[in-house]
């Protein structure tokens, strides 16, 4: 098991480094001079060149890269071209907000998604099953920003129950969590149902029922537990997306999370922030996939042993 983990960790580090290099190259090749966005239309040509020189854009690309790499090794992600704030600080703040939003949305999605999936599988073919699965299609299909706006209007404005925007209070996260979690409820519910139906049909489940074990214990204790693998895979795959920020939800609810920070930095060509955000996103995804792989190996020893062989 230890060998397996070490191997995966080394691979993860190499992946993050490769992404850093590729990102740097791409960001410096795509059209769009951040100096023009910083200065606006009023600056004359001399000022543009002066600022380019001050910011080091006139240096050869490889020099710029090595300077960047040198700072990165000291965990210095640089300073935003616009806010002049340390990128690490901006990312930390954005990360905290995104984590809060992501965990709220995901907790919400897990509780309701698994519950609906289990109910649908147990009540297969009945009205409740059809209702829950049809609703899940709407959940997957509805654009999240549309859901967000509807929630703002109904619960924020008309009913005046919850804040319309912001990320400063607990209540401010309820609507965004609901808006973001809706599509994940749907996908988790569907995969839970499918996975549960496979397990419920197994001999050992029928044996447990025959032995008089309660339906509740059979469903949760035996069936759900064994149906977890595909659910964990989905959770892992989607958690990466949730933790890297939902730009639309963050924009509508005015939450300055990672998603919004990333998109804003793309549009403004705020390279240090963008580079930092991409490294963050890559690291998060790599860690999550690593944890999924490790949990797979732990749950199913055949995976670990097969790899070691």
């Amino acid at each position: 098991m230890r060998k397996y983990i070490i191997k995966r960790v080394v691979e993860a580090i190499l992946v993050v480094f490769a992404i850093t290099v590729i990102t740097f190259i791409i960001l410096n090749v795509i059209p769009g001079d951040p100096v023009l966005l910083i200065l606006g239309d009023r600056a004359d040509a001399n000022t543009i060149e002066m600022v380019r020189h001050q910011m080091g854009f006139d240096k050869p690309l490889h020099i710029q890269f090595f300077n960047y790499l040198g700072k990165l090794l000291h965990l210095d992600l640089g300073v935003s071209y616009f806010t002049r704030e340390a990128v690490f600080q901006s990312l930390s703040r954005a990360f905290t907000l995104t984590i809060k939003l992501a965990l709220s949305a995901y907790a919400f999605a897990l509780v309701f998604g698994i519950t609906f999936g289990v109910i649908a599988s147990v009540k297969r073919g009945k009205f409740i099953d059809k209702f829950l699965m049809s609703t899940s299609i709407i959940g997957i299909s509805a654009p999240s920003f549309w859901v967000a706006i509807i929630l703002q209007i109904i619960f924020g404005l008309k009913l005046n129950l919850l804040p319309i925007s912001g990320g400063e209070s607990v209540s401010a996260f309820i609507l965004p969590a609901f808006a973001l979690g809706t599509r994940y409820i749907a996908s988790i519910a569907r995969i839970t149902r499918t996975s549960m139906l496979e397990i419920i049909g197994q001999d050992y489940v029928r044996t447990a029922e025959a032995k008089g074990v309660s339906k509740w214990r059979v469903t949760i204790g035996h069936a759900l537990r064994n149906a977890l693998l595909p659910i964990i895979t989905l959770i892992g795959a989607e958690l990466g997306g949730v933790l890297t920020g939902s730009m639309l939800i963050e924009k509508v609810f005015s939450i300055s999370g990672i998603g919004k920070l990333t998109v804003d930095s793309i549009l403004s060509r705020d390279m240090p922030v963008l580079q930092g955000a991409i490294i963050y996103i890559a690291t998060i995804c790599v860690i999550i996939y690593l944890l999924v792989d490790i949990s797979y190996a732990y749950i199913d020893p055949r995976i670990r042993l097969g790899d070691e062989q």
């Binding site: 059209p31 806010t83 002049r84 703040r93 319309i164 990320g167």
Partner: protein, 538 residues
Amino acid sequence: MKNTRKLLATILALSLAIGAVSCGEGTTKADNGGKEKKILRFAEANPKNSLDMQTNTNSKVAVISDHITESLLRYDEDLNLIPILIKDMPKVSEDGLTYSFELKEGIKFHNGETLKSSDVKFTFERMFTPATGALSTYNYDMIVGAKEMLAATRESLEGFKVIDDTKFEITLTEPYAPFISNLAISYAEIFPEKATKEAGENWGITTLIGTGPYKLESNNQDTGVTLVKNENYHDGIPNLDEIQVKYIDDINTQLLEYEKGNIDVVALDATLYKNYAENDNFKDEVNEYHPLGTTFLNINNEDEVLGNAKVREALSYAVNREEIANYLLNGTVTPAKAFLNPNIPGYNQEAKDYEYSIEKAKSLLDEAGYKNGVQIKATVSSADGNASKVFTAIQAQVKEAGIDLTIESLDAAAFNQKKKDGELQLYLATWNGLYPDGDHFMNAYLYSANSRTKSVNYNNSKFDEIMSKARVSSNKEERAKLYKEADAIATREDYAVIPLYNQSSFFLAKPYVENMKIGNLIYHFFNVDINTELQNKK
């Protein structure tokens, strides 16, 4: 039955939980020793910038910084230039090179220090120090020694002479009539030397100290800024106790918060004007103002097709400005008659409307050698929501004259790059003057050297000569006459750009917000007051 009861109990518990959490919001008004606090709440998109106006050019930052730090002069909401930190308008030497200033006495910064001439000198020297990274030095680099400082060949500003704690002189390398106006804009706000040095890299981030009517209480880069009144303000205690600037990027969310009552003043996009102007609940809260801007078709005068003046003139005849103004943009704009905005000295009050005539357009294209039509490509920036709409309308209009207009869309950064490289053939531009002066309007945009970075590539030596002459003249009437002449050359003879319309801008303000007025681009709350009685009645 048992399961139904469990389900209902769960729903009830969740509802109670939501209610409990949402009831803990509290109110924004706070008691002020028995007196109701006057707190103005304003929403704008997050400028994502430091509050130091030397290192950014963002007007959204100026909304905040203009209340904290002050320039020597300021344009008020009626566009009058008034002295703020100085006793009177500066005396200018006969040769137009030396400006003499005298500061008002006893003006204090928020930290209690007295404003002195040395602080003014420090502010300008900081601006020209390369390490600062100041972005608007071109407005002031005609001060003797400025360019040397920027080139790091000098460390002090030779053209700034401190006479005593309140008197100083600034000497320029050449006469420059708009210099006083440039001293009135946000980029020349005066900083306290000691506090600025102490704050170092945090200046404009966690610390900003000035002489303004409001002090910086808190600056949260993500959520907004809180300003509190300066009890020792040199021009009288301001009306408001607090100004809260909330960062909300999405304009719909801004308006929802306004409708809910969490925001008192908010900008209203022209596309949404009708929704509120025709809504009985909000129509009395809609306000209009007229920025010093003109929207026009920016043409590449060195382009193979548009380099021909007859083609440009044909394009002007083929565009129906009335239709765009009245139908497409719902009357929120006025057809333009010149490049200069009507409030800029030099605007030709007798100018005729630009004629709309498909026949004349066709005839001109024929003369230019394009009898069978011509292809032109318009480029729009993804950051400009209006441009696509306007060009789509123009595309249909000019088709009748035989102009096949295609529209390409680029993201803002790529668009700006191509613009700077002079590669755009045609795009929609709006140029706003920071103050009512023709130099800031025409020279900055159409003077040959400046027009290159805007894909205009306009090069008319007579026009340039007029610009240079107007720039050094101290006679206001003469300058106005020169700008009038230059405008006619650029837009009625050369058709270097094609003026389309002058915009109106709008904002919403609650009925209890008094004296809210906007002169040009920036939201200032210097004279704003809140009628707390009316506010409590709502």
